[in-house]
């Protein structure tokens, strides 16, 4: 049985690990994976149709703990102990919930001290005791209800059968109902860099650069123990070399060498050879930024960016953090006939973000005859990709991978070949 320390408004954990409010989803998963001998039967709950509308939940079914993540930021919002009998809990090193010590009202009062009078929810017959960032639910029979006004302690229960906590929640702020996932706590940075916002800078239907607003922990010289969030703005362009990218973003977490490119068959100029024949382009994987950068094997220059949105229900879920990108796409469309001569076009800007739904932007971006590519990732060790295929659409110099629920799973931005004007010769 897990024996965990409760820190109101902050965390639940033990000496080896703790779930901290504001922690990214992947870190919570990593803790659980490391504890795979102790914590089993973990369930991940999400909404496949509306992944942004319902919370993302990790449920530790054998430990009665639920980790509720904000579906948009994918950071830990509420830590809930929903079955007090499956876990030992302590506060300031003193147990208040074990198999011997029952979390009665008296016990809570003794361990956590005084607080405001609790709130009675007559619909659910729950009496809720709130501390800052911590609340306890007590199921109370309706016959006690009329007398609760003077606080729970004033209730008289027959022969000492005082109610025990049925649910405990740790959250940020004062109210469980209004709580939001706190910003990423500095203790969860782990030396990584995260992207606040990634702006794709475009000019005339092609991408010129990517602007990263990075945040990371910085340290002031001489103040080594004082962690500070540091925000920096960095640009990465096509044609940049690895040095440029690393100077801007730091080293990648992993480098992945493309062994063979299945999509090469679609290259229009198949007669084009590289100088060295077969050689492997490589990706710099920035998992915590949700970005991959592809370098050419021969020139060692950036030729493609891939931005990931990490929606549950995608094959790559939990590999990347969500990249909060913003892509302004300028689209030309023919003006309505009465106003303009034929062929004249007007421009319109559509901003695509990680939260855009494809069906709402599709009409303006893709001509109806633009055929998608169906991408069905499967694995050699597992017979199928249970999430079903995704669809890829080409828009200008980008490829959008769209999931079946219309959310964008990834965007690949590639370098369009420099077309040398024939006239120059």
């Amino acid at each position: 049985m897990l024996d965990l320390e409760v820190v109101p408004e902050r965390s639940l954990g033990n000496e080896q690990w703790e779930f901290i409010l504001g922690m990214p989803f992947y870190q919570g998963v990593n803790i659980l994976k490391r504890q795979d001998r102790i914590i089993k039967g973990v369930q991940v709950w999400y909404s496949s149709q509306g992944p942004l509308s319902i919370d993302l939940v990790i449920y530790l079914s054998q430990d009665g703990i639920r980790l509720i993540f904000d579906p948009v930021s994918q950071r830990l919002k509420i830590i809930e102990v929903s079955n007090m009998s499956k876990v030992k809990l302590k506060y300031c090193g003193v147990h208040f919930n074990t198999s011997q010590i029952h979390p009665t009202i008296e016990q809570i009062d003794q361990s956590f001290g005084a607080t405001h009078p609790g709130v009675y929810n007559s619909e659910k017959q729950l009496f809720v005791l709130n501390f800052r960032g911590l609340s306890f639910d007590f199921p109370i029979e309706s016959k006690f209800e009329p007398r609760y006004a003077h606080g729970l302690g004033s209730l008289q229960f027959p022969n000492g059968a005082s109610p025990v906590v049925s649910r405990m929640c740790i959250y940020s702020g004062n109210s469980l109902l209004e709580t939001r996932a706190p910003p990423l706590p500095i203790t969860c940075y782990h030396g990584n860099c995260y992207v606040d916002c990634l702006e794709v800078i475009r000019d005339n239907k092609s991408t010129t650069a990517l602007k990263f607003i990075l945040f990371t922990e910085g340290n002031e010289p001489g103040k080594l123990l004082d962690p500070r969030k540091k925000i920096v703005e960095r640009l990465v362009k096509f044609g940049d070399c690895p040095n440029d990218v690393i100077s801007a973003l730091g080293c990648p977490e992993k480098v992945f060498y493309k062994s063979d490119d299945k999509m090469k068959i679609h290259t229009p100029d198949t007669h084009r050879y590289s100088v060295r024949g077969k050689s492997s382009d490589y990706f710099y994987n920035y998992f915590t930024m949700g970005v991959d950068i592809l370098f050419d094997a021969n020139t060692h220059q950036v030729k493609k960016f891939v931005l990931h949105t990490n929606y549950p229900g995608h094959y790559n879920f939990n590999m990347y953090c969500r990249c909060e990108f913003k892509i302004p796409v300028i689209i030309e469309r023919e003006k309505p006939q009465p106003l303009a001569q034929t062929g004249e076009t007007e421009e319109e800007e559509v901003i695509i973000t990680a939260y855009s739904k494809w069906d709402s932007v599709q009409k303006s971006l893709v001509r109806p005859d633009n055929r998608p590519v169906i991408l069905n990732r499967a694995s050699s060790t597992n017979t199928s990709n249970p999430f079903g295929p995704t669809f890829c659409f080409g828009v200008q110099d980008m490829v959008f991978e769209v999931m079946q629920n219309q959310h964008i799973a990834s965007v690949a931005i590639y370098q369009q070949k420099q077309i040398t004007p024939v006239a120059v010769s």
Partner: protein
């Protein structure tokens, strides 16, 4: 060859050397000649040497000619490789050779204006700092450091235009002799004793000075390395607050800690002294002074073996120095590279992320991977990937080179021996798998991943030894404020800047290319004053090596086609070694499995077979004509520069493909001649299927985790889903909402045929279901109506070439759905057996379990559909959560069974 004759009509005329078949004997003779010239009393000089000039130094050059990224000629469809550019320094001048892809060595420049210490060809500038090019009409330029500079000899540099022949610019350093010049498209770095001066390349404006370099006694008195924008140099002091995590860790037996802490330093130093003594007694010259000088410096608070890497573009002062007072802007890494010995040579790999360092003893070379942090060097890390063990005798490193994918390093010593080491850019062992393919393979093999070796256990097991043996890496975590938290290290999943760091692997040379004679360094030359010779170091046999595409000709027989085919298959480029004797040799490298047993597996040890293929004698004849700038307008140097500037490939009449018109070559570059259709479909090739090495088990594959969805459409899980489950071995996934688009997909008849029943099972049960659900929005309106989308299947079998045939079935998109036949049953059985092997708990159990999940789900679906249907963007607690609680509690017991 018909092409040959046609080419000659247009050809650039110059003195030219054709390759000869490699012969050990002629190579030997050339070296004998070289030494008989130097040591007249030992060998009686033959007539041949009389008419040849003596080469002082040799160097391969990168410039517009062989710039893969910028030169449009490299993108031509008929490109056959990269030209090689070679600069030879003579006591009376300099000579530049262009060795074309056909194997002809063209002399492109030859000057006899007096001794030249350094000559470099400047590539066309890349104006990253915003300076405009002031020498547009003069380029290409060469930079020369010769005795004719104003003031003292070798104390200035001049820029000479190859186009006009003018001296367009010069920089004088009064009495400071220039030791070396490094340049690339962005920066020009002038190296002095203990000092470095960095200039940009558009107007040659001075950017900043570095004056804290640790001197080395070797031939390279101030070693530096320049990548595209980083500069590595040997620093005098270690400034703790800027020190990067990691750095060198122990060389196997001799740990760093032991070296530093051993009070006497006796054994180590004694050995090195012994080595020195051996060499000097052999060579006749006794040099013990440098050793003493190093320790004097130590008393000044300086430490040998420190390397600093700076980002030139981020240094905004006119002077750079690592100290406690500055914030460390522009500092990439600052670390200990060698224990107690000064750094004698440094080199970056082509990506600029690997740094190889050599110390003065030359026993071991260290390969580091720089893991920079975007904000501060102290938050970055340096991984010591390899220790390359050369030998136990002292040697001076005079040249280091990498091949283009950083899998091979050559290190050449002052005795003319070139050591070839196999490495990987990511560390770890080298074997047949990593080095016998033409492309770079990923670190973890399929086997490793499927065995789960790559995930947790590895790092946990390694943590303690690394930390305890390497004090330079321990004690550094306090740099990371969050590392104080105890759970941080436990939670470090992917951040390579945090410990545990990889432990270096010792690599022995796969091959040593020796110059034919065991070079006996010449004592007779000692009385010459250093200023006499341009380099100032006479007891060195200058050698340099370069990996490059093989030259496409076989002497005597025009088997060009065969050669070409062969070249595409080679796992490594040819190695070109130029020696001071004047002979350039192309060696073919053939890595293969060491034949211990008959069975060749991926993990087999590597063996390298090196075969000399061709050679060129490039030594300048005394009576040869000079070829001084201005160069003719069809000189390869000028043409390459023009191509780079205009981005138009050089006219094909300079190449040897008679059928190819100029128009064609341009089209192949722009690639849009085939019309609109092509450009519309061009994006297809840009779809990325696999971008990272995924874990063997995705999170959703269980067994620890199972994924469940809130059901918004309860009709999905109808009775058909049980048949779905029975097909699906990974039934942890059974409750997954598969409703998606299968209706639409069915209507598209996307069912790929299973033409190959033995292929890995990748059936998608979802497709087999009859469409029972109401259709949800189709991505891509009108797909069904008029066009058929393309189906691409991919997955983590990316590593395995054996499985590629699976792909053969993807195009069958129009084939109608097949009835479930015996093939499918066969396949199911196969699937089950495989799944049994993969899943930890018996397959059947899970199936049952998931069926139960299904049932439970079905029963409570009414709740959900009513609540979540109306709850867009609601607060979770209200309904979904409630439902979750209800469902989940009832099944916790069952989940326990499964795990």
């Amino acid at each position: 060859m018909a092409a040959d004759t046609q080419r000659k009509a247009y050809r650039y005329t110059c003195s030219m050397v054709r390759p000869q078949i490699f012969s050990e004997k002629s190579l030997m003779e050339s070296v004998v000649d070289f030494f008989s010239d130097v040591v007249p009393q030992a060998y009686t000089g033959s007539q041949k040497t009389e008419d040849k000039e003596k080469i002082q130094w040799v160097r391969f050059e990168n410039c517009d000619c062989n710039d893969v990224a910028k030169n449009p000629d490299m993108f031509r469809s008929d490109t056959k490789g990269l030209p090689l550019l070679l600069i030879l320094g003579y006591s009376n001048g300099v000579q530049i050779w262009n060795i074309t892809t056909n194997g002809e060595a063209q002399e492109v420049l030859s000057m006899r204006q007096g001794p030249v210490r350094i000559c470099r060809i400047l590539p066309n500038p890349d104006p990253v700092l915003g300076y405009t090019d002031s020498y547009v009409s003069k380029r290409p330029l060469v930079i020369l450091c010769d005795s004719s500079s104003a003031g003292q000899p070798y104390c200035g540099v001049k820029f000479v235009s190859l186009r006009t022949g003018d001296e367009v610019h010069s920089i004088s350093f009064k009495t400071l002799p220039v030791q070396n010049i490094e340049c690339n498209k962005r920066f020009l770095v002038l190296v002095f004793l203990e000092k470095i001066c960095v200039h940009e390349t558009s107007q040659f404006q001075q950017l900043f000075w570095i004056t804290s370099c640790f001197p080395c006694s070797g031939p390279t008195v101030n070693p530096i390395a320049l990548s595209s924008r980083w500069l590595a140099y040997a620093d005098k002091r270690l400034v703790a607050m800027h020190q990067s995590c990691g750095g060198m860790s122990g060389d196997g037996s001799q740990s760093y800690a032991a070296t530093v802490l051993s009070a006497a330093k006796g054994a180590f130093k004694g050995l090195s002294m012994f080595g020195e003594a051996m060499v000097s007694s052999v060579t006749g010259g006794s040099k013990s002074t440098p050793v003493k000088r190093d320790y004097v410096h130590l008393d000044n608070g300086n430490r040998p073996g420190i390397v600093t890497v700076v980002d030139i573009q981020n240094i905004h002062n006119d002077h750079f120095n690592v100290n406690e007072d500055n914030e460390g802007d522009g500092l990439i890494a600052h670390f200990h590279a060698h224990a107690n010995e000064p750094v004698s040579n440094l080199a970056f790999d082509p990506t600029g992320t690997l740094l190889v360092t050599a110390c003065k003893l030359g026993h071991n070379f260290h390969v580091f991977r720089l893991m920079a942090h975007p904000v501060s060097s102290s938050l970055g890390a340096v991984h010591h990937l390899y220790t390359l063990h050369r030998g136990e005798t002292t040697a001076k490193v005079i040249d280091i080179s990498f091949n283009h994918d950083s899998r091979w390093i050559t290190v050449s010593s002052h005795r003319g021996t070139t050591h070839l080491f196999p490495i990987t850019p990511y560390g770890g062992s080298v074997n047949v798998r990593t080095h016998c393919k033409p492309h770079v393979v990923n670190r973890a093999s399929r086997f490793h991943r499927s065995a789960g070796l790559d995930e947790f256990d590895h790092s946990v097991g390694r943590r303690s030894p690394v930390l305890s043996t390497s004090p330079s890496s321990s004690g550094q975590y306090d740099r990371y404020p969050t590392l104080i938290q105890q759970n941080t290290l436990n939670n470090n999943m992917g951040n390579p800047r945090l410990p545990p760091y990889p432990h270096p692997i010792t690599i022995y040379p796969a091959f040593q290319v020796k110059q034919p004679l065991n070079v006996v360094l010449n004592p007779g030359n000692k009385n010459q004053s250093p200023s006499h010779s341009p380099t100032g170091f006479d007891n060195i046999y200058s050698v340099c090596a370069r990996f490059c595409t093989p030259r496409l000709c076989v002497v005597g027989s025009p088997k060009l086609d065969m050669e070409r085919r062969e070249a595409g298959k080679r796992p490594v480029d040819s190695l070109f070694i130029m020696a001071q004797s004047g002979i350039l040799v192309e060696y073919v490298l053939e890595p293969r499995a060491k034949s211990v047993t008959d069975k060749v597996t991926d993990d087999c040890m590597l063996e390298l077979n090196v075969v000399g293929r061709m050679q060129w004698n490039l030594q300048r004849l005394k009576n040869s004509q000079e070829l001084r700038p201005p160069l003719p307008s069809n000189s390869p140097l000028i043409l390459a520069h023009e191509a780079v500037v205009s981005q138009i490939p050089t006219a094909p009449d300079l190449y040897d493909l008679p059928g190819l018109t100029r128009q064609d070559s341009k089209d192949s570059l722009s690639s849009d001649h085939s019309g609109k259709d092509d450009t519309d479909e061009q994006w297809l090739s840009q779809v990325e299927i696999i971008t990272h090495a995924g874990p063997h088990r995705r999170l959703w594959m269980g067994p620890q985790f199972s994924f469940k969805t809130y059901q918004e459409n309860t009709t999905v899980l109808s009775s058909t889903s049980s048949s779905l489950l029975s097909q699906s071995p990974e039934s942890n996934m059974a409750t997954m909402d598969l409703m998606g688009d299968e209706g639409d997909l069915e209507s598209l008849k996307l069912q790929p045929t299973r033409s190959n029943p033995v292929s890995m099972p990748n059936a998608r049960p979802a497709y087999r279901r009859l469409s029972g659900s109401d259709s949800s929005p189709v991505p891509g309106q009108g797909i069904g109506a008029q066009s058929v989308p393309m189906v691409i299947e991919a997955g983590s079998f990316d590593q395995s070439p054996h499985l590629l045939d699976v792909y053969s079935n993807w195009t069958e998109s129009t084939v109608a759905k097949q009835p479930r036949g015996s093939d499918d049953l066969e396949e199911d059985r196969l699937k089950e057996t495989l799944a049994d092997a993969m899943v930890e708990s018996p397959c059947k159990d899970i199936e049952k379990l998931s069926l139960r999940h299904q049932d439970i789900f079905g029963s409570s679906n009414e709740n959900l559909s009513t609540s979540s249907g109306s709850s867009g963007g609601l607060i979770f607690n209200k309904n979904a959560e409630q439902l979750l609680a209800d469902n989940v509690f009832s099944m916790t017991g069952e989940s326990a069974d499964s795990s």
